[in-house]
Symmetry: C2
Subunit: 205 residues, 2 copies
């Protein structure tokens, strides 16, 4: 298909597609004339992934890392998971106390080396932000966080498809990044439902 | 304390504090001279909250809504939860199919009116983003999302403090927004731990 058709098939404006091409997020089409190229279904699929990542707030550099992981899948899906996480993890500061993060990580099943350092730093950063705000998460709530998140992650990894390396990589990369906004949206709904049960209906505003 | 001391106590530069004052995120200090004002511990606490929200990616308009909810607490903590959620929920598009979101919300205990429309729209938006990327969340994984998130939200609301309306409001507002990056960071660590168990250690990179 031509650029115009690619745009129609994905709902993405041609100017945006050209930008993704320039940034290397989308492979070049097959050139059919000096000023024309032909695209196929792989371009449609890739564009959908790029757009979805952009929609969840991943920056261009992060999307590039995810796309590279999809394009040259290592044999171990775990290495790809690292690339996907690296793409979506905010850069952590350097003045972090790792001990609290390690304690929490241990409750999630962590042992030294079982995840990359950047993720531990991300955990330390997130803990510090809560702490600095002067907010204390009650013990039973933190227990629920640990149990709930561990059950979620275990189900996700248990369902990595076995049929092909490509399918496994695609699942791991997209499955770690795309559901983040969904999980937060589900939590907001569930919090409001629980609050309505406990305190009654909110006033309309 | 003076502006300089307020800055020292919070680690926030005076230029940033002045910006927060201009934006109405921080109440004015008590003026002691035309060019000088005095601040107290309430300013320190408020600044910590503002900074923490900014760090978790909430914009100025969103922080203002949270601060207003903290300043004029309604009697029903549920109404404040709505304000906190409104501050942190991305604006949803209008071309959304609500039926899938309602199905998912029902699994989270929702009945019509049990949460505000904006949260359902946010859920529909998040589902659509996953869908548009051509990614399908396996059934057992979605089951784990529903169970894990519901357990988390129930624990959070069960632990809303009873001692004062102010304490309840503070807990609900901060407890809904601040832990978001923490939960995502915990999930990344738990995913890597589970992937290491299933696939072995990732290659170092």
């Amino acid at each position: 298909m031509r650029m115009q058709e690619l745009s129609a098939a994905t709902g993405i404006p041609t100017a945006t597609i050209k930008y993704y091409l320039r940034e290397g997020l989308l492979p070049e089409g097959v050139r059919t004339a000096p000023n024309q190229a032909r695209y196929d279904d792989a371009h449609v699929q890739r564009l959908k992934v790029v757009r979805a990542l952009a929609d969840t707030g991943v920056g261009i550099a992060g999307i590039r890392k995810v796309v590279e992981a999809l394009d040259s899948p290592p044999s171990n899906p775990n290495a790809v998971l690292g690339a996907a996480h690296a793409a979506t993890t905010p850069q952590a500061g350097s003045d972090l106390d790792p001990s609290k993060a390690e304690d929490l990580a241990r409750r999630l099943g962590w042992t030294p080396g079982a995840c990359d350092e950047k993720q531990l730093a991300g955990l330390a950063q997130a803990l510090q932000a809560v702490d600095r705000a002067g907010f204390e998460i009650p013990g039973p709530v933190m227990d629920a966080y640990v149990e709930g998140i561990q059950a979620i992650a275990n189900a996700e990894i248990a369902n990595v498809p076995q049929d092909s390396a490509e399918a496994a990589v695609r699942y791991v990369v997209l499955g770690s990044t795309l559901p983040e906004p969904l999980l937060l949206a589900m939590r907001r709904v569930a919090e409001q439902v629980a609050a309505t049960e406990r305190f009654g209906r909110p006033e309309q505003n």
